[in-house]
C-alpha cells in the first residue's frame, strides 16, 4: 500500500487496500452537538467511545482550558500581557493531544496551544512568560518533553520528526504529536515534515486544528483538497478527519493514531474540524472578514457544553467533580492574575548571556557597553533625586 517496507510489516497495515490511507467519508463524531452519543458506524476504524472516567477527566481539562482562555483574554484587556492568541471553543483538540500522550512522549505545539502546554504539566507562570514579554520562552522543553510554542508556521513539524527519528534510532518507544493549523498546511515545511516522517517511518502524529481561518483568510484560500486529511495519501500515511469539538471522537481518533505510531505503524495525519470563536489575537478584528451569523452557528457546537450535557445526561458527572474542576480552574486563574499583576524586571544583562554557550568577545564588549550605560543612568537618576 505504500512503498515503505516497515509500513508493510506493521500488522495493522498488512493486507489493507490503498484506500485505507484515505480519511473516513465524514468527520468522526461520537457525541453529537446536542450531547447525544451517535454510534461509530461508517468510519474506517471501529472507534470506541472512551469510558466515563476518561471523559470525566477530559471534561475537567476542558473546564480548565476554558477558564485559562477567559482569564488570559481578560489580562490582555487589562494590559498585563502584550498578546494572547485565544483558543476559546477549540480546546478539545489540545486536551485530546495531551491525554493521548505519555509523559515520556513529546508534544510540539503552536502559539495558540497554551492549554495543551499547561496540560503537559508546565507551570502556569512559565507557560505565560513569553506572553508577558519577559523573554521568548519560559519553560525548559526537556523538563516537560514539550517543545516551545512555535510562531513560524509549520516549522515545528520538522522538529517533531527529528525528535521522533532520534528516539527511533535509539530504540525508544517515544511518540511525538505535533499541532498545527489549517493555514500552516500551505507551508513548505508542512510538506517536508510529512514526507520526511513517512520516508523515515517515524512515530509522529500530525494533528491539524482546522479552525477555518488563518487570521482573516478562510480555508478555501488555503486549499481546495477534498479535506486537509486527504493530503496524507500523497505522503503514504493514513489520514483521518474528526469533529474537533467532540472530545470523545478526538480521544478515539488521536489515541488510535498515537498507538499506531508507538507500535511501529508509522506517522499519520489527523484533521480536526473546529472554529476559532475569537479574533486571531487581541490585535485582530474578526468582524472585518466574517459575519456574526457565521460565528453564531458554532456556538451550539461548543466542546465543553457538549461533553457536559453528555456526562450529565448519562449520570457520569458527580457534583463533587464539577466543583473540584471549577475550583482547580479558578486556582490556576488566580495564579495567572497574581503572577501577571506582579511587576517583574527582566535583567538586561541576560541579553548577551545565552546567544552562544560562551559569549563571544564581541558580545562581552557589548554587554559592558550596556552595563556602563545603565550605571550612568542610575547615577544620573541619583543626582537628580
Amino acid at each position: 500500500m505504500t512503498n515503505h517496507p516497515e509500513f508493510m510489516e506493521y500488522p495493522g497495515n498488512a493486507g489493507r487496500a490503498e484506500g485505507y490511507l484515505l480519511p473516513s467519508e465524514e468527520p468522526v463524531q461520537l457525541i453529537a452537538a446536542d450531547g447525544s452519543a451517535t454510534g461509530n458506524d461508517g468510519y474506517k476504524e471501529p472507534y470506541q467511545l472512551p469510558g466515563p472516567a476518561t471523559l470525566v477527566e477530559g471534561y475537567g481539562r476542558l473546564v480548565m482550558g476554558r477558564r485559562v482562555n477567559e482569564q488570559a483574554n481578560a489580562l490582555v484587556r487589562q494590559g498585563r500581557m502584550a498578546v494572547y492568541p485565544s483558543s476559546t471553543g477549540q480546546e478539545a483538540c489540545q486536551v485530546a493531544a495531551d491525554m493521548s500522550l505519555r509523559g515520556s512522549d513529546w508534544l510540539f505545539p503552536t502559539y495558540r496551544d497554551t492549554v495543551a502546554i499547561l496540560g503537559r504539566g508546565v507551570d502556569p507562570m512559565e507557560a505565560f512568560e513569553s506572553l508577558r514579554g519577559d523573554w521568548h520562552s519560559g519553560f525548559d522543553p526537556h523538563q516537560y518533553n514539550t517543545g516551545l510554542p512555535t510562531t513560524p508556521l509549520a516549522t515545528q513539524l520538522l522538529h517533531a520528526v527529528g525528535v521522533a527519528h532520534a528516539a527511533k534510532l535509539r530504540g525508544e518507544d517515544t511518540v511525538v504529536l505535533t499541532l498545527c493549523g489549517d493555514g500552516a498546511s500551505s507551508e513548505g515545511d508542512f510538506h517536508e515534515a510529512l514526507n520526511f516522517a513517512a520516508v523515515f517511518h517515524v512515530p509522529v502524529v500530525f494533528l491539524i486544528q482546522n479552525n477555518q481561518y488563518a487570521i482573516s483568510v478562510p480555508l478555501i484560500r488555503q486549499s481546495v483538497a477534498p479535506s486537509l486529511a486527504h493530503k496524507a495519501v500523497g505522503y503514504g500515511m493514513p489520514g483521518e478527519r474528526v469533529d474537533g469539538n467532540d472530545l470523545a471522537a478526538l480521544l478515539a481518533v488521536v489515541g488510535h493514531a498515537v498507538e499506531r505510531a508507538r507500535n511501529g505503524g508509522g506517522p499519520s495525519l489527523v484533521e480536526a474540524h473546529t472554529y476559532r470563536m475569537e479574533s486571531h489575537t487581541n490585535a485582530d478584528d474578526a468582524t472585518r472578514y466574517r459575519t456574526a451569523a457565521e460565528v453564531a452557528q458554532w456556538v451550539p457546537k461548543d466542546p465543553l457544553l457538549r461533553l457536559q450535557k453528555y456526562l450529565h445526561d448519562a449520570g457520569h458527572l458527580a457534583p463533587a467533580d464539577s466543583e473540584r474542576f471549577a475550583a482547580d480552574a479558578e486556582a490556576v486563574a488566580k495564579t495567572l492574575r497574581d503572577g501577571l499583576n506582579t511587576e517583574t524586571v527582566p535583567d538586561p544583562a541576560e541579553l548577551f548571556s545565552f546567544v552562544y554557550s560562551e559569549p563571544t568577545p564581541q558580545l562581552r564588549e557589548q554587554a559592558r557597553l550596556l552595563a556602563d550605560e545603565l550605571a550612568a543612568g542610575q547615577s544620573l537618576e541619583g543626582a537628580l533625586r
Binding site: P5, H136, S357
Partner: protein, 361 residues
Amino acid sequence: MTAMAHKPQPQSGTASPAAEPELSGMQTLTFAKALTLAMADSMAVDPSVLVFGEDVGTLGGVFRVTDGLTRRFGEDRCFDTPLAESGIIGMATGMAINGMKPVVEMQFDAFAYPAFEQITSHVAKMGNRTKGKVRLPIVIRIPYAGGIGGVEHHCDSSEAYYVHTPGLTVLTPSTVTDAYTMLRDAIASPDPVIFLEPKKLYFSKDTVDVDALRARYGAGSTAPSTIGRAVIAREGSDATLIAYGPSMAAALAAAETAAAEGRSLQVVDVRSLVPFDDETVCAAVRSTGRAVVIAEAPGFASMASEIVARIQERCFHSLAAPVLRVTGFDIPFPAPRLEKYYLPGVDRILDTVEELQWEES
C-alpha cells in the same frame, strides 16, 4: 523481512578494512579527505554524531566528502534524505533537541537557501530563546564559493547571510590541517556551526601527521580550539592581507609575487568569521600599518566591509593608509566563462596594495 533489511548495514566490526583503510602516521591528504576523516573520527568516538543530507550515503556526496561513512558506520549513522533542505535542517533541529549531533550537508551554497528559515529562526535562536536550556550542536556543511567553473546557483559566497545572524558560529578552513581540526572543533561545539567548505580547495593536498591531528582530540589534550582564532598564514612587514577560505590562495600567491618584487606582505587567515578574532587581526594590522581585505563575496554590506570597519575602529592611529578591499563585484556570480573577471586575483590584489599611499622612495 526484518525492519532493517532494506538498509545498507555496516560490515563486521566498526570498520571495514578493505573499504576504509585506517589512516595513521604521515599521509598526503586532500582537503576533502581531511574532512571525511574528521567526520569519521568524530563518529567513531561519539555515537550521537550522525551525517545526513542529499547523496551523502551510497554515493558519498557529490564531492565525495562523506565517502565510506555509510559503509563503515551503517545507514543509521550516515544516510540520504529526501531532496528538501528545510526538511534536513528542521529534522536536524529535532534530532539535536533529542540528544543527537547532526552533521548535515547542503550540497551547494545556493541550495541552502530553502533552509534559511529553519537556520535563522530556530537553529540560530534556540539557545538564546531557552536561556541555554536547549543547545543545538548541529554542523551545517556547505560546499561554497566559486573558482571551479560551476554553473549558476553552484558558486555563491553566502557567508554574509550567516555572519549577520546572531547565534551561528561561521567557519571556513583553507588548509588541509584546518579542514580536519576545524570540522572536529565544529562537531564538538555545543553551538550550531555553519561550516563553509571552499569547493575549489577540495582537491588541494598536503602531507600531514594524522596521529598528531588526532592527538589534539585525545584524552588530556590541551590543544586550543580553532574556533574564534585567526592565524598568521605568512609573515610580512610592509602591509597585511586579510583573507579567508576561498580567497586565501590568491592572497598567498599575491604575497609571493610581491616578495619577488621587494614588498613584504603579511597574510592573515581569518578562518573563524564568527566569532571574529579582533585581537589577532588588529595586532597584525598594527604591525604593518597597512591592510587590504580580500573576499570573493560581493563587497557591499559584506564580511569584508565588517572587517574593514572593525580595523578602522580599533587601529586608526596605527594606519598609514585607508584600509582597502578587493572583493567580488556587486553582481550575481557570473557564468563559468566570465568568473575569471570576477574573482579577486593576484593582479587586482597587488594593484590595490599599490594604492596604500606608499611614501615615494
